[in-house]
């Protein structure tokens, strides 16, 4: 461990490399986390199927490459397809559990995640899939630091998606309805908002966000039917850290988590990378619950 820290001192370019790689994977976590914050805040559902929706988005982008299209199209296409998948899931399952005890929605979405895993396994098989975006690599500081253009695109895409979402929630009628429903579903219903439609749209938007994130994942990393869980866990963490109503906070927390994780992997060894994430979660929860006990959170 000390040797690894010394290595950072000897080769300072590594710090930049780790930071950049961390920020870029963090951006993808952030996109999935926006969706989770929305669904959690508006519908009071902790969406355990989040990671599987991300994987499904990745598989859709992969499918496009099988049809000879660039996987870059996967970002909008997966988002649109997943919107309808999400709305469908809401109609069949989520709307029946949305107002209930959180435990029921946890179980229901957990069941959905198993179902989706098996379906993806049946359709695309149990091997990892990746798609080549055709983008290259940039080199900084005399070839010592490399920046994959795909990851930069993923980063930019994630930030743009976040910005669009924030504006959408602030300005559009549906966005305002979503926020109103999040604050008080009963009052929103009394004031004429069709909360069931709002829920469906919210869940659809969440799935679309996951789909876009998945298309970025398949181009920058890889997808597999059974590796969705880390995305669920990271989303959950980011939302916990940022708070439900705080979308800019989600971006910052996502980026920070990605970078912290990467540094921890380097310094402690990758075997402790995930353990570090969970330790961090515990620390943050303790700090939050002591410092911010009395502040109520709602979707602004």
């Amino acid at each position: 461990m000390a040797a690894n820290v010394a290595l950072l001192g000897d080769a300072p370019f590594l710090i930049l490399q780790l930071l950049l790689d961390g920020l870029m994977i963090g951006a993808i976590f952030a996109v999935a986390a926006y969706g989770m914050a929305l669904v959690w805040g508006v519908m009071n559902v902790i969406n355990v199927v989040q990671g599987e929706l991300v994987m499904l988005g990745g598989f859709i982008a992969y499918q496009l490459t099988l049809w000879g299209l660039s996987p870059l199209w996967g970002v909008p296409v997966a988002a649109i397809v997943l919107y309808f998948v999400g709305a469908g899931l809401h109609h069949v399952v989520i709307r029946r559990v949305a107002d209930r005890d959180m435990f029921i929605s946890l179980l229901a979405t957990f069941g959905l995640s198993i179902l989706l895993q098996q379906l993806m396994n049946q359709i695309w098989g149990g091997d990892v899939k990746t798609a080549q975006s055709g983008l290259g690599t940039w080199f900084l500081l005399d070839y010592t630091v490399t920046v994959s253009q795909m990851k930069v695109a993923a980063f930019g895409g994630a930030i743009a998606i976040g910005a669009v979402l924030i504006i959408f929630l602030k300005r559009s009628r549906l966005g305002q309805a979503i926020r109103a429903t999040a604050q008080n579903p009963r009052a929103a219903r009394i004031l004429g908002i069709d909360t069931n439609r709002v829920f469906a749209a919210t869940y659809g938007i969440n799935a679309a966000l996951c789909g876009a994130a998945g298309a970025l994942v398949v181009m920058a990393y890889s997808v597999h039917p059974y590796i969705g869980l880390p995305y669920t866990v990271r989303s959950f963490m980011i939302v916990i850290v940022a708070g439900l109503g705080n979308l800019p906070g989600v971006i910052v927390a996502g980026l920070g988590l990605g970078a912290a994780e990467n540094f921890a992997g380097f310094i402690l060894g990758v075997q402790y990378q995930v353990a570090f994430v969970f330790c961090l979660l515990v620390v943050i929860l303790v700090i939050r619950s002591t410092l911010l006990q009395r502040r109520r959170q709602f979707l602004k």
């Binding site: 149990g126 091997d127 380097f266």
Partner: protein, 412 residues
């Protein structure tokens, strides 16, 4: 009251199962010998489970089409009874019980993966049912004193040790002391890759090679950037990565993306991750461990040469056989041979015949040591050269010379 009922139902069930067990007899009906197998047809091993099943099926079909096996002057056909173990060890163990107790199977073929084999082996052992397995490579299967377990494949610790040996061999040829070499390793934190790690570390110690990075990738990790950044800084001579097909895809992709210059990159699961198809030129020079290759010069009477097997398999299923299929076919051949030598279908006679196996199959030489693992077949090492897998080690079976060192990215 409730308790009373539970006891009654329990004892009735027990009685029934004893009846069923009593009913079971050696599953040789008429001219058909039944083998049992639990394979993964759903769940996370679906793809590999299917290769396993197809390997078994192809060997059974080929043997039957050629007239079956001759035991004690009579000819018999082979047939396999399959169940889907859903890729879960507990289910595998249950199904093994079912195959033995209800279906009366006396001979078992292995499931896919070390984990499932570990779950099933105690069951077959308990009933004294010989099992020939082809897809459980973990060394831990062979230090438990099992008498009825036989494996045709090379055990895990040999997977990438051959790459370390190759690096040392090259260094010596170039007049360099292997002890000056530096090795970086990244191994997924699961039993399979940790076995591989043990083999690599042991071999590195044997040659005095210094291990400069020894990272254990969490199974859920989808990014190797931290390990590779470190690799760039310490500049090892060999980079070894093991993490099933995810590890293979990540390693090849990110080594290129991050322009990690390393003279030798050795990984597992190249073919199942399809690194050539996905990454093209970026995968060149990569070394891949494999149990078997169609270009090897082994042969037998059932399929002919390794190349003949590949052709037969491709004609039947429309794709080139992965080694998982080849070794599964070999397991059936080994059973057929043991039946013929045993001259009957007594479990212990067949077990003893299996233990005395000494033969060449298209898949490789087969001879079991006292723990049941095959010690006659080495692992092979492929290198990706001009967009194709070429065997480069062990030198005895190699088709081509290894290309070493990998040129730096600035020249590729």
């Amino acid at each position: 009251m409730l308790k009373g009922w539970a006891v009654a139902i329990g004892s009735a069930a027990l009685g029934l199962s004893i009846l069923a067990a009593g009913d079971a007899q050696a599953k040789v009906e008429g001219d058909t010998v039944y083998l049992g197998a639990a394979v993964s047809l759903t769940g996370k091993y679906t793809t590999a489970g299917e290769h396993t099943q197809r390997g078994y099926d192809l060997a059974v079909k080929t043997i039957n089409d050629a007239g079956g096996i001759t035991v004690g002057g009579n000819t018999y056909r082979l047939e396999v009874i399959y169940y889907d173990d859903e890729s879960t060890p507990a289910r595998g163990a249950q199904l093994a019980e079912r195959l033995i107790n209800q279906d009366g199977v006396d001979f078992m073929l292995g499931p896919y993966s070390s984990g499932l084999t570990k779950a099933i082996a105690p069951v077959t052992e308990q009933y004294g049912v010989p099992m020939v397995e082809a897809n459980g490579a973990s060394l831990q299967l062979f230090n438990k004193g099992y008498r009825y377990l036989f494996a045709v494949l090379s055990t895990t610790e040999q997977y990438l040790a051959s790459a370390v040996a190759l690096a040392a061999e090259i260094a010596e040829r170039e007049g360099r002391d292997p002890a000056t070499l530096k090795l970086a390793g990244a191994f997924e934190n699961d039993p399979f890759s940790q076995d591989i790690r043990a083999g690599v570390i042991a071999d590195a110690e044997k040659f005095g090679i210094q291990v400069v990075i020894d990272d254990q990738l969490p199974p859920e990790l989808n990014d190797m950037a931290a390990t590779l950044a470190k690799t760039k800084a310490v500049k090892p001579d060999i980079l070894v990565v093991s993490g099933h097909s995810k590890g293979a895809a990540l390693a090849v992709r990110q080594v290129e993306e991050m322009r990690v210059d390393v003279p030798m990159l050795a990984i597992t699961h190249c073919d199942s991750a399809d690194v050539i198809g996905k990454f093209g030129a970026a995968s060149e020079y990569t070394l891949c461990a494999s149990q078997w290759a169609p270009t090897l010069s082994y042969q037998d009477d059932v399929f002919g040469s390794a190349a003949d097997y590949a052709a037969t398999f491709e004609a039947e299923y429309g794709y080139a056989p992965p080694y998982q299929a080849a070794e599964s076919s070999a397991a059936v051949i080994v059973f057929a041979d043991a039946f013929e030598r045993a001259g009957g279908f007594g479990k212990d006679a067949v077990r003893d015949a299996l233990a005395a196996t000494e033969m060449q199959t298209f898949y490789g030489n087969i001879r079991f040591d006292e723990t049941g693992k095959n010690i006659a077949k080495p692992m092979v090492l492929y290198q990706i050269q001009d967009g194709a897998y070429v065997v480069v080690a062990p030198t005895k079976w190699a088709a081509s010379e290894v290309r070493h060192p990998t040129p730096p990215w600035s020249e590729r």
